[in-house]
Protein backbone atom coordinates (compact mmCIF):
# COMPACT_ATOMS: atom_id res chain seq x y z
CA UNK A 1 0.00 0.00 0.00
CA UNK A 2 2.23 2.75 1.20
CA UNK A 3 5.80 2.95 0.02
CA UNK A 4 6.98 4.03 3.45
CA UNK A 5 9.33 1.68 5.24
CA UNK A 6 8.78 3.59 8.48
CA UNK A 7 5.55 5.34 9.35
CA UNK A 8 5.07 7.44 12.46
CA UNK A 9 1.47 8.25 13.30
CA UNK A 10 0.81 10.89 15.94
CA UNK A 11 3.83 9.76 17.89
CA UNK A 12 4.50 11.53 21.17
CA UNK A 13 7.15 10.85 23.77
CA UNK A 14 7.11 12.57 27.12
CA UNK A 15 9.58 12.24 29.96
CA UNK A 16 8.25 12.80 33.41
CA UNK A 17 10.75 14.22 35.79
CA UNK A 18 10.36 15.16 39.41
CA UNK A 19 8.94 18.58 38.72
CA UNK A 20 8.32 19.02 35.03
CA UNK A 21 7.25 17.04 32.03
CA UNK A 22 9.41 17.15 28.90
CA UNK A 23 7.61 16.77 25.60
CA UNK A 24 10.55 15.38 23.69
CA UNK A 25 8.37 14.39 20.71
CA UNK A 26 4.90 15.81 20.11
CA UNK A 27 2.41 14.40 17.68
CA UNK A 28 4.75 13.49 14.88
CA UNK A 29 3.26 12.01 11.75
CA UNK A 30 5.91 11.24 9.20
CA UNK A 31 6.61 8.64 6.56
CA UNK A 32 10.05 7.56 5.49
CA UNK A 33 10.12 6.19 1.94
CA UNK A 34 11.88 2.96 1.17
CA UNK A 35 15.28 3.17 -0.45
CA UNK A 36 15.88 6.84 0.30
CA UNK A 37 18.37 8.70 2.35
CA UNK A 38 16.05 10.68 4.56
CA UNK A 39 17.45 13.44 6.71
CA UNK A 40 16.09 14.62 10.02
CA UNK A 41 17.58 17.93 10.99
CA UNK A 42 17.12 20.31 13.86
CA UNK A 43 18.91 21.89 16.74
CA UNK A 44 20.17 19.85 19.64
CA UNK A 45 17.30 18.93 21.93
CA UNK A 46 14.71 19.09 19.16
CA UNK A 47 13.73 15.46 19.73
CA UNK A 48 15.43 13.83 16.75
CA UNK A 49 17.12 11.03 18.67
CA UNK A 50 14.04 10.33 20.75
CA UNK A 51 11.90 10.09 17.61
CA UNK A 52 14.16 7.67 15.75
CA UNK A 53 14.67 5.57 18.86
CA UNK A 54 10.98 4.74 18.70
CA UNK A 55 11.59 2.95 15.40
CA UNK A 56 13.32 -0.01 17.03
CA UNK A 57 11.60 0.70 20.35
CA UNK A 58 14.74 1.60 22.22
CA UNK A 59 12.27 4.25 23.30
CA UNK A 60 8.59 3.39 23.71
CA UNK A 61 6.27 6.12 22.51
CA UNK A 62 3.98 7.62 25.12
CA UNK A 63 1.33 7.85 22.46
CA UNK A 64 0.74 7.03 18.84
CA UNK A 65 1.74 4.34 16.41
CA UNK A 66 4.98 3.24 14.80
CA UNK A 67 4.85 0.98 11.76
CA UNK A 68 8.01 -0.52 10.30
CA UNK A 69 8.22 -2.82 7.27
CA UNK A 70 4.43 -2.51 7.08
CA UNK A 71 4.04 -4.10 10.53
CA UNK A 72 2.73 -2.33 13.56
CA UNK A 73 5.57 -2.33 16.07
CA UNK A 74 3.77 -0.25 18.65
CA UNK A 75 0.36 1.26 18.91
CA UNK A 76 -1.36 3.02 21.74
CA UNK A 77 -5.01 3.88 21.51
CA UNK A 78 -6.39 5.38 24.66
CA UNK A 79 -5.19 3.02 27.34
CA UNK A 80 -4.82 0.07 25.03
CA UNK A 81 -1.27 -0.75 24.02
CA UNK A 82 -0.30 -3.29 21.39
CA UNK A 83 3.34 -4.00 20.84
CA UNK A 84 5.24 -6.72 19.05
CA UNK A 85 6.60 -9.47 21.28
CA UNK A 86 10.04 -9.19 22.84
CA UNK A 87 11.32 -12.01 20.68
CA UNK A 88 9.94 -10.56 17.45
CA UNK A 89 11.32 -7.19 18.42
CA UNK A 90 14.82 -8.67 18.75
CA UNK A 91 14.51 -10.27 15.33
CA UNK A 92 13.24 -7.04 13.80
CA UNK A 93 16.00 -5.03 15.44
CA UNK A 94 18.49 -7.07 13.47
CA UNK A 95 16.83 -5.66 10.36
CA UNK A 96 17.33 -2.09 11.58
CA UNK A 97 20.96 -1.12 11.92
CA UNK A 98 21.90 1.85 14.04
CA UNK A 99 25.07 3.90 14.37
CA UNK A 100 25.81 6.58 16.92
CA UNK A 101 27.88 9.69 17.51
CA UNK A 102 30.27 7.95 19.91
CA UNK A 103 30.53 4.71 17.89
CA UNK A 104 29.65 2.60 20.97
CA UNK A 105 31.88 -0.31 20.08
CA UNK A 106 32.76 -3.03 22.55
CA UNK A 107 36.07 -1.69 23.84
CA UNK A 108 37.28 -5.04 25.14
CA UNK A 109 36.67 -6.92 21.89
CA UNK A 110 38.65 -6.70 18.70
CA UNK A 111 37.14 -5.36 15.52
CA UNK A 112 36.17 -8.76 14.17
CA UNK A 113 34.44 -9.78 17.41
CA UNK A 114 32.58 -6.51 17.42
CA UNK A 115 31.08 -7.28 14.05
CA UNK A 116 30.37 -10.88 15.04
CA UNK A 117 28.49 -9.72 18.15
CA UNK A 118 25.36 -8.94 16.16
CA UNK A 119 25.53 -12.28 14.33
CA UNK A 120 25.12 -14.41 17.45
CA UNK A 121 21.52 -15.24 16.65
CA UNK A 122 21.81 -15.24 12.88
CA UNK A 123 21.86 -19.03 12.62
CA UNK A 124 25.29 -18.85 11.00
CA UNK A 125 28.00 -21.24 12.17
CA UNK A 126 31.13 -19.88 13.78
CA UNK A 127 33.18 -20.10 10.59
CA UNK A 128 30.40 -18.43 8.60
CA UNK A 129 30.13 -15.65 11.16
CA UNK A 130 33.84 -15.07 10.89
CA UNK A 131 33.62 -14.95 7.11
CA UNK A 132 30.67 -12.57 7.26
CA UNK A 133 32.50 -10.27 9.64
CA UNK A 134 35.50 -10.23 7.32
CA UNK A 135 33.29 -9.48 4.35
CA UNK A 136 31.59 -6.59 6.12
CA UNK A 137 34.92 -5.14 7.21
CA UNK A 138 36.17 -5.39 3.65
CA UNK A 139 33.14 -3.44 2.47
CA UNK A 140 33.92 -0.57 4.83
CA UNK A 141 37.62 -0.70 3.93
CA UNK A 142 38.95 -2.18 7.16
CA UNK A 143 39.81 -5.68 5.99
CA UNK A 144 43.31 -5.33 7.40
CA UNK A 145 42.22 -4.47 10.93
CA UNK A 146 40.41 -7.63 12.06
CA UNK A 147 42.45 -8.10 15.22
CA UNK A 148 42.79 -4.44 16.19
CA UNK A 149 40.98 -3.06 19.22
CA UNK A 150 38.75 0.01 18.88
CA UNK A 151 41.07 2.14 21.02
CA UNK A 152 43.80 1.60 18.43
CA UNK A 153 41.66 3.05 15.62
CA UNK A 154 40.86 6.61 14.59
CA UNK A 155 37.32 7.98 15.01
CA UNK A 156 36.57 7.52 11.32
CA UNK A 157 37.79 3.93 11.44
CA UNK A 158 35.76 3.20 14.56
CA UNK A 159 32.64 4.51 12.85
CA UNK A 160 33.38 2.22 9.91
CA UNK A 161 33.53 -0.74 12.28
CA UNK A 162 30.22 0.39 13.73
CA UNK A 163 28.75 0.52 10.23
CA UNK A 164 30.07 -2.97 9.43
CA UNK A 165 28.55 -4.22 12.68
CA UNK A 166 25.22 -2.51 12.07
CA UNK A 167 25.00 -3.97 8.57
CA UNK A 168 26.22 -7.49 9.35
CA UNK A 169 22.67 -8.87 9.48
CA UNK A 170 21.84 -7.27 6.11
CA UNK A 171 19.29 -4.87 7.56
CA UNK A 172 16.95 -2.91 5.34
CA UNK A 173 17.19 0.28 7.37
CA UNK A 174 20.19 2.07 8.78
CA UNK A 175 19.62 4.77 11.36
CA UNK A 176 22.53 7.14 11.70
CA UNK A 177 22.19 9.29 14.80
CA UNK A 178 24.75 12.10 14.54
CA UNK A 179 27.21 9.49 13.30
CA UNK A 180 29.57 12.07 11.85
CA UNK A 181 29.25 14.71 14.56
CA UNK A 182 32.38 13.60 16.40
CA UNK A 183 34.49 13.38 13.24
CA UNK A 184 36.68 15.89 11.47
CA UNK A 185 35.48 17.25 8.08
CA UNK A 186 37.50 14.79 5.99
CA UNK A 187 36.29 11.73 7.87
CA UNK A 188 32.77 13.15 7.90
CA UNK A 189 32.74 13.36 4.11
CA UNK A 190 34.21 9.88 3.75
CA UNK A 191 31.61 8.34 6.05
CA UNK A 192 28.79 10.21 4.29
CA UNK A 193 30.02 9.02 0.93
CA UNK A 194 30.20 5.47 2.25
CA UNK A 195 26.58 5.72 3.41
CA UNK A 196 25.58 7.00 0.01
CA UNK A 197 27.39 4.13 -1.69
CA UNK A 198 25.63 1.61 0.57
CA UNK A 199 22.29 3.23 -0.23
CA UNK A 200 22.91 3.01 -3.96
CA UNK A 201 24.47 -0.44 -4.03
CA UNK A 202 22.17 -2.28 -1.65
CA UNK A 203 19.03 -0.18 -1.70
CA UNK A 204 19.52 0.46 1.98
CA UNK A 205 17.11 3.00 3.46
CA UNK A 206 19.10 5.44 5.55
CA UNK A 207 17.70 7.77 8.17
CA UNK A 208 20.29 10.44 8.77
CA UNK A 209 19.89 12.43 11.96
CA UNK A 210 22.13 15.42 12.16
CA UNK A 211 22.39 19.04 13.15
CA UNK A 212 24.86 19.64 10.34
CA UNK A 213 23.14 20.85 7.21
CA UNK A 214 26.21 20.13 5.10
CA UNK A 215 25.68 16.42 5.69
CA UNK A 216 22.05 16.68 4.60
CA UNK A 217 22.99 18.61 1.47
CA UNK A 218 25.62 16.05 0.57
CA UNK A 219 23.61 12.85 0.54
CA UNK A 220 19.92 13.22 1.44
CA UNK A 221 17.00 13.16 -0.93
CA UNK A 222 14.39 14.36 1.53
CA UNK A 223 14.60 16.08 4.84
CA UNK A 224 12.34 16.71 7.80
CA UNK A 225 13.01 19.64 10.07
CA UNK A 226 12.33 19.17 13.76
CA UNK A 227 11.92 21.80 16.40
CA UNK A 228 10.58 21.49 19.94
CA UNK A 229 9.52 17.90 19.40
CA UNK A 230 7.54 18.64 16.27
CA UNK A 231 8.23 18.06 12.62
CA UNK A 232 7.74 21.57 11.27
CA UNK A 233 8.73 21.05 7.66
CA UNK A 234 9.26 18.17 5.21
CA UNK A 235 10.36 18.17 1.62
CA UNK A 236 13.06 17.42 -0.88
CA UNK A 237 16.28 19.39 -0.75
CA UNK A 238 15.10 22.14 -3.10
CA UNK A 239 11.84 22.57 -1.25
CA UNK A 240 13.58 22.84 2.09
CA UNK A 241 16.74 24.74 1.26
CA UNK A 242 15.49 27.01 -1.47
CA UNK A 243 11.74 27.38 -1.30
CA UNK A 244 10.74 26.89 2.28
CA UNK A 245 9.17 29.86 3.98
CA UNK A 246 9.06 28.17 7.35
CA UNK A 247 10.89 30.41 9.80
CA UNK A 248 12.47 27.49 11.69
CA UNK A 249 13.63 25.91 8.48
CA UNK A 250 15.05 29.21 7.30
CA UNK A 251 16.92 29.63 10.52
CA UNK A 252 18.36 26.14 10.39
CA UNK A 253 19.23 25.86 6.71
CA UNK A 254 20.78 29.29 6.59
CA UNK A 255 20.22 32.08 4.14
CA UNK A 256 22.49 31.32 1.24
CA UNK A 257 19.36 30.96 -0.90
CA UNK A 258 17.35 33.66 0.81
CA UNK A 259 17.78 36.93 -0.97
CA UNK A 260 15.96 39.19 1.44
CA UNK A 261 18.16 38.13 4.32
CA UNK A 262 21.28 38.41 2.23
CA UNK A 263 20.39 41.92 1.16
CA UNK A 264 19.54 42.91 4.68
CA UNK A 265 22.99 41.80 5.74
CA UNK A 266 24.40 43.96 2.95
CA UNK A 267 22.39 46.97 4.15
CA UNK A 268 20.48 47.26 0.89
CA UNK A 269 16.98 48.65 1.03
CA UNK A 270 15.10 46.41 -1.38
CA UNK A 271 12.09 48.66 -1.66
CA UNK A 272 14.17 51.44 -3.16
CA UNK A 273 15.46 49.28 -5.96
CA UNK A 274 14.19 46.97 -8.62
CA UNK A 275 15.81 43.75 -7.51
CA UNK A 276 14.91 40.24 -8.54
CA UNK A 277 16.23 36.91 -7.44
CA UNK A 278 16.94 34.19 -9.98
CA UNK A 279 17.17 30.66 -8.72
CA UNK A 280 18.10 27.90 -11.10
CA UNK A 281 19.60 24.49 -11.41
CA UNK A 282 22.88 24.84 -13.23
CA UNK A 283 22.15 21.81 -15.35
CA UNK A 284 19.09 23.56 -16.81
CA UNK A 285 20.91 26.65 -18.02
CA UNK A 286 22.23 26.61 -21.54
CA UNK A 287 21.90 30.25 -22.60
CA UNK A 288 24.25 32.97 -21.48
CA UNK A 289 21.33 34.72 -19.77
CA UNK A 290 22.87 38.02 -18.75
CA UNK A 291 24.09 38.65 -22.27
CA UNK A 292 20.73 37.54 -23.69
CA UNK A 293 18.90 40.01 -21.44
CA UNK A 294 20.84 42.83 -22.94
CA UNK A 295 20.72 41.63 -26.52
CA UNK A 296 17.04 40.66 -26.55
CA UNK A 297 15.50 43.26 -24.22
CA UNK A 298 18.12 45.97 -23.80
CA UNK A 299 18.07 45.26 -20.12
CA UNK A 300 21.31 45.57 -18.28
CA UNK A 301 21.41 43.36 -15.23
CA UNK A 302 23.89 44.35 -12.59
CA UNK A 303 24.77 41.52 -10.30
CA UNK A 304 24.40 42.26 -6.60
CA UNK A 305 25.01 38.75 -5.32
CA UNK A 306 25.68 35.35 -6.72
CA UNK A 307 26.13 31.94 -5.21
CA UNK A 308 26.42 28.37 -6.35
CA UNK A 309 25.71 25.53 -4.00
CA UNK A 310 25.53 21.79 -4.31
CA UNK A 311 22.33 20.15 -3.07
CA UNK A 312 22.76 16.43 -3.36
CA UNK A 313 23.30 15.77 -7.06
CA UNK A 314 22.03 19.17 -8.09
CA UNK A 315 23.86 22.43 -8.34
CA UNK A 316 21.69 25.38 -7.39
CA UNK A 317 22.57 28.87 -8.49
CA UNK A 318 21.24 31.99 -6.83
CA UNK A 319 21.62 35.34 -8.49
CA UNK A 320 20.35 38.70 -7.31
CA UNK A 321 20.30 41.30 -10.00
CA UNK A 322 19.23 44.88 -10.42
CA UNK A 323 17.32 45.15 -13.69
CA UNK A 324 17.79 48.44 -15.45
CA UNK A 325 15.61 49.14 -18.46
CA UNK A 326 12.09 49.93 -19.64
CA UNK A 327 9.10 48.54 -17.78
CA UNK A 328 7.74 46.51 -20.67
CA UNK A 329 11.16 45.20 -21.48
CA UNK A 330 11.50 44.13 -17.91
CA UNK A 331 8.29 42.15 -18.01
CA UNK A 332 9.30 40.47 -21.21
CA UNK A 333 12.67 39.69 -19.71
CA UNK A 334 11.08 38.00 -16.72
CA UNK A 335 8.94 35.88 -19.07
CA UNK A 336 12.06 34.92 -20.98
CA UNK A 337 13.87 33.94 -17.80
CA UNK A 338 10.97 31.83 -16.60
CA UNK A 339 11.00 30.14 -19.97
CA UNK A 340 14.58 29.13 -19.21
CA UNK A 341 13.50 27.17 -16.13
CA UNK A 342 14.64 29.94 -13.87
CA UNK A 343 12.63 30.79 -10.82
CA UNK A 344 12.18 34.53 -10.66
CA UNK A 345 11.26 36.22 -7.40
CA UNK A 346 10.68 39.92 -7.11
CA UNK A 347 12.36 41.22 -4.03
CA UNK A 348 10.08 43.55 -2.17
CA UNK A 349 9.62 43.60 1.51
CA UNK A 350 6.17 44.06 2.95
CA UNK A 351 6.01 47.42 4.70
Amino acid sequence: MSNNIVQFKDVSVTFKQKKNVIHAVSDVTLGIPKGEIFGIAGYSGAGKSTLVRTINLLQKPTDGEVDVFGKTFYKKEGDHVSSISTKDLRDERRQIGMIFQHFNLLEEQNVQRNVEFGLKHSGLKEKEREAKAKKMLDIVGLGDYLKAYPSQLSGGQQQRVAIARALANDPKILISDEATSALDPKNTDQILDLLKELNEKYGLTIILITHEMEAIKRICQQVAIMSDGKVVDVGDLLEIFVDSKNPTTRKIVGNSFNALEILKSMNIDVNKRNLIQLTYLSADINDPIIVSLYEKFHISASIIYSNIEKLGEQVVGTLIVDLLGGKEDQEAAVKYLEGQNIKVTELKEAE
Binding site: N56, L58, R93, R94, M98, N104, L106, G118, P150, Q152
Partner: protein, 234 residues
Protein backbone atom coordinates in the same frame (compact mmCIF):
# COMPACT_ATOMS: atom_id res chain seq x y z
CA UNK B 1 71.69 -17.52 60.58
CA UNK B 2 69.70 -20.40 62.05
CA UNK B 3 71.24 -19.90 65.45
CA UNK B 4 70.72 -16.15 65.32
CA UNK B 5 67.08 -16.66 64.38
CA UNK B 6 66.54 -19.21 67.19
CA UNK B 7 67.96 -16.73 69.72
CA UNK B 8 65.90 -13.76 68.63
CA UNK B 9 62.68 -15.55 67.60
CA UNK B 10 62.41 -18.37 70.13
CA UNK B 11 58.62 -18.52 70.10
CA UNK B 12 58.47 -18.55 66.31
CA UNK B 13 60.72 -21.55 66.26
CA UNK B 14 58.89 -23.39 69.01
CA UNK B 15 55.60 -23.15 67.03
CA UNK B 16 57.12 -25.60 64.56
CA UNK B 17 56.17 -25.93 60.93
CA UNK B 18 53.75 -28.77 60.33
CA UNK B 19 52.08 -29.50 63.63
CA UNK B 20 48.60 -28.43 64.58
CA UNK B 21 50.05 -25.09 65.70
CA UNK B 22 52.74 -24.92 63.02
CA UNK B 23 53.40 -22.13 60.54
CA UNK B 24 52.67 -24.07 57.37
CA UNK B 25 49.40 -25.21 58.86
CA UNK B 26 48.49 -21.62 59.68
CA UNK B 27 49.33 -20.35 56.18
CA UNK B 28 47.36 -23.20 54.61
CA UNK B 29 44.38 -22.43 56.79
CA UNK B 30 44.43 -18.76 55.80
CA UNK B 31 44.66 -19.68 52.13
CA UNK B 32 41.87 -22.23 52.53
CA UNK B 33 39.55 -19.75 54.22
CA UNK B 34 40.35 -16.94 51.77
CA UNK B 35 39.95 -19.17 48.74
CA UNK B 36 36.65 -20.82 49.58
CA UNK B 37 34.94 -17.78 51.03
CA UNK B 38 36.10 -15.86 47.93
CA UNK B 39 34.39 -18.49 45.79
CA UNK B 40 31.12 -18.55 47.74
CA UNK B 41 31.02 -14.85 48.59
CA UNK B 42 32.25 -13.99 45.11
CA UNK B 43 29.53 -15.90 43.30
CA UNK B 44 26.86 -14.41 45.55
CA UNK B 45 28.41 -10.96 45.18
CA UNK B 46 28.46 -11.15 41.37
CA UNK B 47 24.86 -12.33 41.24
CA UNK B 48 23.70 -9.59 43.59
CA UNK B 49 25.84 -6.98 41.85
CA UNK B 50 24.47 -7.92 38.43
CA UNK B 51 20.91 -7.82 39.79
CA UNK B 52 21.50 -4.37 41.26
CA UNK B 53 22.48 -3.12 37.80
CA UNK B 54 19.93 -4.84 35.57
CA UNK B 55 16.90 -4.28 37.84
CA UNK B 56 17.68 -0.60 38.41
CA UNK B 57 15.34 1.97 36.88
CA UNK B 58 17.81 2.67 34.09
CA UNK B 59 18.84 -0.98 33.79
CA UNK B 60 18.05 -3.45 31.06
CA UNK B 61 15.23 -5.18 32.99
CA UNK B 62 13.90 -2.45 35.28
CA UNK B 63 12.08 -3.97 38.25
CA UNK B 64 11.65 -1.69 41.17
CA UNK B 65 10.51 -4.18 43.87
CA UNK B 66 13.34 -6.62 43.17
CA UNK B 67 15.88 -3.84 43.08
CA UNK B 68 14.57 -2.45 46.35
CA UNK B 69 14.78 -5.78 48.15
CA UNK B 70 18.26 -6.66 46.90
CA UNK B 71 19.54 -3.18 47.59
CA UNK B 72 18.26 -3.30 51.16
CA UNK B 73 19.61 -6.80 51.82
CA UNK B 74 23.05 -5.73 50.66
CA UNK B 75 22.97 -2.56 52.73
CA UNK B 76 21.78 -4.41 55.79
CA UNK B 77 24.52 -7.03 55.69
CA UNK B 78 27.12 -4.39 54.99
CA UNK B 79 26.01 -2.49 58.06
CA UNK B 80 26.77 -5.36 60.44
CA UNK B 81 30.35 -5.21 61.74
CA UNK B 82 32.13 -8.45 60.93
CA UNK B 83 33.07 -9.23 64.50
CA UNK B 84 29.39 -9.06 65.47
CA UNK B 85 28.37 -11.05 62.39
CA UNK B 86 30.66 -13.84 63.57
CA UNK B 87 28.66 -14.23 66.74
CA UNK B 88 25.31 -13.41 65.22
CA UNK B 89 25.54 -16.02 62.47
CA UNK B 90 26.88 -18.83 64.68
CA UNK B 91 23.57 -20.74 64.87
CA UNK B 92 23.28 -20.72 61.10
CA UNK B 93 26.84 -21.98 60.82
CA UNK B 94 25.97 -24.74 63.27
CA UNK B 95 23.09 -25.81 61.01
CA UNK B 96 25.13 -25.76 57.80
CA UNK B 97 28.51 -27.08 58.91
CA UNK B 98 27.61 -28.93 62.10
CA UNK B 99 30.00 -26.96 64.25
CA UNK B 100 30.63 -23.34 65.12
CA UNK B 101 34.38 -23.45 65.36
CA UNK B 102 37.20 -24.33 63.04
CA UNK B 103 38.32 -23.29 59.60
CA UNK B 104 35.38 -24.71 57.69
CA UNK B 105 32.86 -23.19 60.08
CA UNK B 106 34.49 -19.80 59.47
CA UNK B 107 33.61 -20.01 55.77
CA UNK B 108 29.97 -19.19 56.54
CA UNK B 109 30.52 -15.81 58.25
CA UNK B 110 33.37 -15.00 55.86
CA UNK B 111 31.23 -15.58 52.78
CA UNK B 112 28.29 -13.72 54.27
CA UNK B 113 30.59 -10.93 55.40
CA UNK B 114 32.28 -10.44 52.05
CA UNK B 115 29.38 -10.80 49.62
CA UNK B 116 27.62 -7.46 50.24
CA UNK B 117 30.93 -5.61 50.04
CA UNK B 118 31.72 -7.37 46.78
CA UNK B 119 28.19 -6.89 45.42
CA UNK B 120 28.56 -3.10 45.77
CA UNK B 121 31.96 -3.20 44.11
CA UNK B 122 30.59 -5.26 41.23
CA UNK B 123 27.66 -2.87 40.93
CA UNK B 124 29.98 0.11 40.59
CA UNK B 125 32.21 -1.74 38.12
CA UNK B 126 29.25 -2.67 35.90
CA UNK B 127 27.76 0.81 36.09
CA UNK B 128 31.00 2.10 34.59
CA UNK B 129 30.05 0.45 31.28
CA UNK B 130 28.91 3.23 28.97
CA UNK B 131 25.16 3.26 28.46
CA UNK B 132 25.64 3.89 24.76
CA UNK B 133 27.40 0.53 24.39
CA UNK B 134 24.45 -1.21 26.04
CA UNK B 135 22.07 0.62 23.77
CA UNK B 136 23.95 -0.18 20.59
CA UNK B 137 24.04 -3.85 21.63
CA UNK B 138 20.27 -3.70 22.16
CA UNK B 139 19.87 -2.18 18.72
CA UNK B 140 21.66 -5.26 17.34
CA UNK B 141 18.98 -7.49 18.83
CA UNK B 142 21.01 -8.69 21.82
CA UNK B 143 19.16 -10.75 24.44
CA UNK B 144 19.40 -9.92 28.13
CA UNK B 145 21.78 -12.81 28.46
CA UNK B 146 23.99 -11.36 25.70
CA UNK B 147 23.91 -8.02 27.47
CA UNK B 148 24.91 -9.43 30.86
CA UNK B 149 27.68 -11.73 29.68
CA UNK B 150 28.67 -10.25 26.34
CA UNK B 151 28.53 -6.61 27.35
CA UNK B 152 28.39 -5.85 31.08
CA UNK B 153 30.66 -8.54 32.50
CA UNK B 154 32.90 -8.58 29.46
CA UNK B 155 33.33 -4.83 29.07
CA UNK B 156 33.86 -4.29 32.80
CA UNK B 157 36.34 -7.14 33.08
CA UNK B 158 39.41 -5.18 34.05
CA UNK B 159 37.42 -3.10 36.52
CA UNK B 160 36.02 -6.38 37.90
CA UNK B 161 39.54 -7.76 38.35
CA UNK B 162 40.49 -4.60 40.20
CA UNK B 163 37.54 -4.73 42.61
CA UNK B 164 38.07 -8.46 43.09
CA UNK B 165 41.63 -7.74 44.14
CA UNK B 166 40.45 -5.17 46.66
CA UNK B 167 37.84 -7.59 47.96
CA UNK B 168 40.28 -10.47 48.22
CA UNK B 169 42.63 -8.31 50.24
CA UNK B 170 39.93 -7.27 52.65
CA UNK B 171 38.95 -10.93 52.85
CA UNK B 172 42.44 -11.82 54.05
CA UNK B 173 41.84 -9.25 56.78
CA UNK B 174 38.53 -10.88 57.67
CA UNK B 175 40.14 -14.33 57.94
CA UNK B 176 42.51 -12.87 60.50
CA UNK B 177 39.52 -11.70 62.52
CA UNK B 178 37.84 -15.07 62.17
CA UNK B 179 41.04 -16.52 63.57
CA UNK B 180 40.13 -14.86 66.82
CA UNK B 181 37.14 -17.17 67.23
CA UNK B 182 39.27 -20.23 66.75
CA UNK B 183 39.19 -20.51 62.96
CA UNK B 184 42.95 -20.98 62.83
CA UNK B 185 45.20 -19.37 60.28
CA UNK B 186 47.66 -16.53 60.60
CA UNK B 187 45.23 -14.34 62.53
CA UNK B 188 44.89 -16.98 65.15
CA UNK B 189 48.63 -17.37 65.21
CA UNK B 190 49.20 -13.68 65.77
CA UNK B 191 46.63 -13.37 68.54
CA UNK B 192 46.33 -16.70 70.37
CA UNK B 193 49.98 -17.72 70.22
CA UNK B 194 51.53 -14.30 69.81
CA UNK B 195 49.68 -11.56 71.59
CA UNK B 196 47.99 -13.63 74.29
CA UNK B 197 51.26 -15.33 75.23
CA UNK B 198 53.38 -12.17 75.09
CA UNK B 199 55.27 -13.74 72.18
CA UNK B 200 55.88 -10.59 70.16
CA UNK B 201 58.16 -12.38 67.72
CA UNK B 202 55.33 -14.71 66.72
CA UNK B 203 52.96 -11.78 66.19
CA UNK B 204 55.56 -10.04 64.06
CA UNK B 205 56.22 -13.00 61.79
CA UNK B 206 52.48 -13.73 61.41
CA UNK B 207 51.93 -10.10 60.43
CA UNK B 208 54.74 -10.18 57.88
CA UNK B 209 53.25 -13.32 56.31
CA UNK B 210 49.84 -11.65 56.04
CA UNK B 211 51.41 -8.59 54.43
CA UNK B 212 53.28 -10.79 51.94
CA UNK B 213 50.03 -12.53 51.00
CA UNK B 214 48.32 -9.19 50.48
CA UNK B 215 51.18 -7.90 48.35
CA UNK B 216 51.13 -11.00 46.15
CA UNK B 217 47.38 -10.61 45.60
CA UNK B 218 47.80 -6.92 44.82
CA UNK B 219 50.59 -7.42 42.29
CA UNK B 220 48.91 -10.32 40.52
CA UNK B 221 45.62 -8.39 40.43
CA UNK B 222 47.22 -5.24 39.03
CA UNK B 223 49.11 -7.06 36.32
CA UNK B 224 46.09 -9.11 35.34
CA UNK B 225 43.78 -6.08 35.24
CA UNK B 226 46.21 -4.25 33.02
CA UNK B 227 46.59 -7.25 30.76
CA UNK B 228 42.81 -7.62 30.41
CA UNK B 229 42.23 -3.98 29.54
CA UNK B 230 42.04 -3.10 25.85
CA UNK B 231 40.08 0.11 26.27
CA UNK B 232 42.91 2.45 27.21
CA UNK B 233 45.65 1.44 24.85
CA UNK B 234 46.39 4.28 22.52
Amino acid sequence: MGAWFATHFPNVVSQGLNGEEGWITAVNQTIYMTFWSAIFGGIAGIIFGVCLVIFADNGIMPCHPLFWIIDKVVSLFRAVPFIILLAFIAPVTQKIVGTQIGTTAALVPLSVGVFPFYARQVQVALESVDHGIIESAESLGATNWDLIFGVYLSEARSELIRVSTVTLISLVGLTAMAGAIGAGGLGNMAISYGYNRFANDTTLVATILVVIMVLIIQVVGDVWAKFANHADQG
